[in-house]
C-alpha cells in the first residue's frame, strides 16, 4: 500500500485527510476570517503536541461544498482541529494526494 506522499515534515508518517463541509454564501472577507481561525488553531494545537497542519481548501461554490486538506497523524486530530476552530463539517476522509511529477509526464 502506497504511503501518502506529503512534504518532508520530520513528523514521521503524517497522513493526509480531507474534511468536507457545506459552504454557505460567505464573502471573501468572511472566508478569510475562517481560514485564519483554522490556521491559528492548528498552530496552537501543534505546539501542544497535536501535530496537525492545514494545507489548503478547495471550494465548489456552485455546489455549496468546501474541502479542506490537512496533514495529521490520525483523523481524531483533524476532528479536534476542526472542533477547536468551531467550523462545522460533514465528513473526514483519509486521502492520498498524487500531484503529477515530471517523471510521469514522459513516456
Amino acid at each position: 500500500m502506497e504511503r501518502p506522499r506529503g512534504r518532508e515534515t520530520g513528523w514521521g508518517q503524517p497522513g493526509l485527510f480531507l474534511v468536507e463541509r457545506s459552504l454557505p454564501e460567505v464573502g471573501t472577507e468572511d472566508l478569510r476570517a475562517c481560514r485564519t481561525v483554522l490556521v491559528e488553531t492548528c498552530r496552537r494545537l501543534a505546539r501542544r503536541g497535536h501535530l496537525v497542519r492545514y494545507l489548503r481548501s478547495i471550494l465548489a461554490p456552485a455546489e455549496g461544498r468546501c474541502f479542506c486538506l490537512f496533514e495529521a497523524p490520525d483523523p481524531e486530530t483533524v476532528r479536534l482541529a476542526n472542533e477547536t476552530a468551531q467550523l462545522p463539517f460533514a465528513r473526514i476522509y483519509a486521502v492520498v494526494d498524487l500531484p503529477v511529477t515530471e517523471v510521469e509526464g514522459t513516456t
Binding site: 457545506s22 454557505p24 468572511d30 475562517c34 455549496g64 472542533e83 468551531q86 467550523l87
Partner: protein
Amino acid sequence: MGRRRELRTLAQLLASSRLVTLVGPGGVGKTRLALRAASRALEEVPDGVWLVELGSLGSPALLQHVVATQLGLRPQASTWLLPTLIDALRDRELLLVLDNCEHLIDACAALTDVLLARCPRLRVLATSRQPLHLEGESVLVVPPLDAPESGEAPNAEGLWERDAVRLFVTRARDLLPDFQLTPENASAVADVCRRLDGLPLALELAAVCLPVLGVEGLCARLDDRFQLLSRGRRSTGRRQRTLRAVFDWSYELLDEPERVLWRRLAVFPGSFDLEAAEAVCGGDPLPADRVMGLLLELVDRSLVSVVPDGDRMRYRLLETVRAYCLERLRSAGEEGEIRNRHLRWYAQLSAAAGRDWLGPRQGWWLERLEREVDNLRAALEHVRDEDLVEVGLEMASDLWLFWYARGRLATGQWFLRRLLEAAPGADRSRARALANAAYLGLAQGDRETAAAEAEEALGLARAAGDPWLLPEVLVIGALAARAGQDRARAEALLREALDLYRAQGRGARVGVAVAGLGSLALEAGDDRRALALQAEAEALHRAAGDDWNLGFCLFEQGVIHWHLGDLEEARRRIVEALSLRRRLDDHRGIASCLDAMAWLFATEGEHERAARWLGAADAAWRAIPATIAPQWQPYRRACETACRRSLGAERFRRAQEWGRNGRLDDLLAELADPGLAVVRAPEHAVRAPALSPRELQVARLVARGLTNKEIARRLGISPRTAETHVEHILSKLALSSRAQIGAWVGAGEGARPSVRSLPDVPHRSTG
C-alpha cells in the same frame, strides 16, 4: 471584599487595552472581580457588557454557538457562525466577558483573535488560569487576598488591615454573630489566613467550620492537613494543593449522605433545580426524599450556591468546587451512572415538552427549557454508552421546536448529526433524528444536505412501518421538496401525511399539514384556495392552542387578503400574528410582521408610516440576524420603491432612520391595539442604540439646561456641530423641543443598563 487596587488597575487596563485577561488559580475570585469591573465599565460602553460563562461548556465546537446565544443572536441564515458573529459585532462598541476559558483556551484564543481583528470597537475581558497568548493582550494576575506574613506580630488592628482577615472574620460572623477578632484569637486567625494563602474560596469554606471547631481547632486541622500535604505530589501548584486540602477537609466533615449528594451534584454543568437534584442524585444510598434536607445543609455550609431565578430557587456549584466534586465522583466510581441519570432526567423533560409543542403550553415550555439549556447541552454531549444513543437521539429530536424557536438551529443540528454518526442502526430514532436535522438544515438554507437527510429519513420511516412517525417525516420531506422547487412532490407528500393524521385524529398536526398545502397554493398563485385552506388550518390551530403555527397561518392569511385587496382583514391578521409572536418571543416572526405592516401602509398610501415600519423591520432583522424569506422579498422591494417615489429620497431615508432607531413599543402604540400591549422585549437582544455616544452626551447636557454654545464649549466642538447634534437627536427620537429631550433623559433612557445575564448571587455576598 477589598480588591480596590485590582479594580483600579483593571479599570485602567480596560481603558487602554482591547484584550484583558485575568489570570489566577481556582478559587481566587477572578470571576467576581471581572464582574465588578464589568459593572463599572457599563457607563463607558455604549452597546453594553455581555457575559458568556464557559465553565460548563464541554466541547469547543459549541463555543461560537454559546457566544451567539448570549449576545441574543438567533442566526438562521448560515451554518457558519463566525461570519454571523463578526457581522453582529463589527459596528458595535461592546465589552465581551469570557469567563473560565482555560479548558477551551485554544478555541477562545482563536475566536478572540479574529473577532478583535475584524471588529474594531470590540473589547474582551477574559478570565482563565493561563493567558490566551495573543498579541496586545494585557494580563492581570489576580493575587490571593492580602494575608498576614509569618512572623508578623499579630495585633488585632494590624490584622484588620489585611483583606484576607476581613473576609474570614466577616464570613465567620455570618455564622457566629458574636465572633470577634480579639488579642486572644488574633494569632490563630492570622495563622489560618496565612496557611490558606489568602484564597477567598478556601477562607470561606474554612469559616464555615468555625461553629464546630473554633479557631484553635481550625488551626490544629490545618496542621494535620499540611503535614499530609508535604508528603504529597510536588508537581501541583501550592495554591492548588491548599484549596484541595480545604475541599478534602470540608468533604470529610460531612456525613456520608451529604458527601454522596455533594459529589453527585457535579454532573450539573450549571444551575439546577431541586426536582432535578432529587431525580439525578437520589438513589441508593440516598433516598430521594432526603435530598432536599441535605441540599439545604450543603447550602448552609457554602458548598452549594443559591441562584434566585424570579420566584424560583435554583442551585449551583462554583466551578472550582464542581471540578473537585467531579474528581470525587470519579473515584467513587459513580460518574457513569449519575451522568446517565442526568441524561434520562433531561430526556424525560424534553419528551414532556415534545408532547406539548403544538398546544397552549408551548410558550411555558420554551421558557422552562431556556433555563435548563446548560443541562440539555451537557446531557447530549455526554451520551457515550451505546444503549443510550437512542435516548439521546430521541431527546435531540424532541427539542425541535426549542432549537427552532429559540434560534439554536446550528446547535440542535450539531447534536443531531453527532448522535446520528454514533447510531448507524437505531431505525426509528434515526429516521426521526434525520428528519429533524433536515428540518433545521432547511431553516438555515442548507438545502442539499437537508434534502438527502429527508430522503433517507423517509426511506427509514416507511421501512420501520411506524404510522405515528411517518406523517411527521412526510411533512418535512414536503418542505425539502418545496425548497427544491418540486411542488408536485411536496403536495403529494403533504396529502399522504394529511390522510394519516386525519385517520389518527391528531387535530393539531392536521392543521400543520393543511397549512402546508395552503402555503403551496399561495406560492402557486391560487389565492382563493390558499385562503380556504388557511382558514381551515386556523380553526385547528386555535382549537389546539398552538400559537406558534397559528402565527404562520395568520401571516399567510394576511398576505392573501392583501392580494385580494381587503386591507382591513389583512391588517387584523397581521396584528394578531404580531401579538402572538411577541408573546412567544419569535424574533423572525416579529420581523416578518413588521415588514408586512409596512407593505399594507404603503398600499393605503401612508408612505411615511410605511417607511418607518420598514426601518423597524430592518432593525429587527439585523438583530437576529437574518433576512426576510425569499418569497417575500419582491413585496419588500416594491414597498421600498413606492415609498421612495412618494416621499423623495431624503424624507424616505429619515423616516426609515426613525423606525430603525426608535423603540418598538412606541411604534406599536400607533396601532392602539390592546393585544399588542403585552410587551416583553426580549432580554438578550442587542438593540441598535438610539443615539450615538456623542449624541447621548449632548442630550444629557441639554437636559441640564445648557445652550448650544455652552455645550460646544464644554465638549470642545464648534457651536454649529453642537447644533447639528441637537437636530439629529430631535429627529432620531421624534421630539420637537429641548424640554422633551430633558424629559427623555430624565425618564431614564440615559440610565444604566445592567450586565446581561448576571450569574448567581452567592448565598452570602463576598463583596
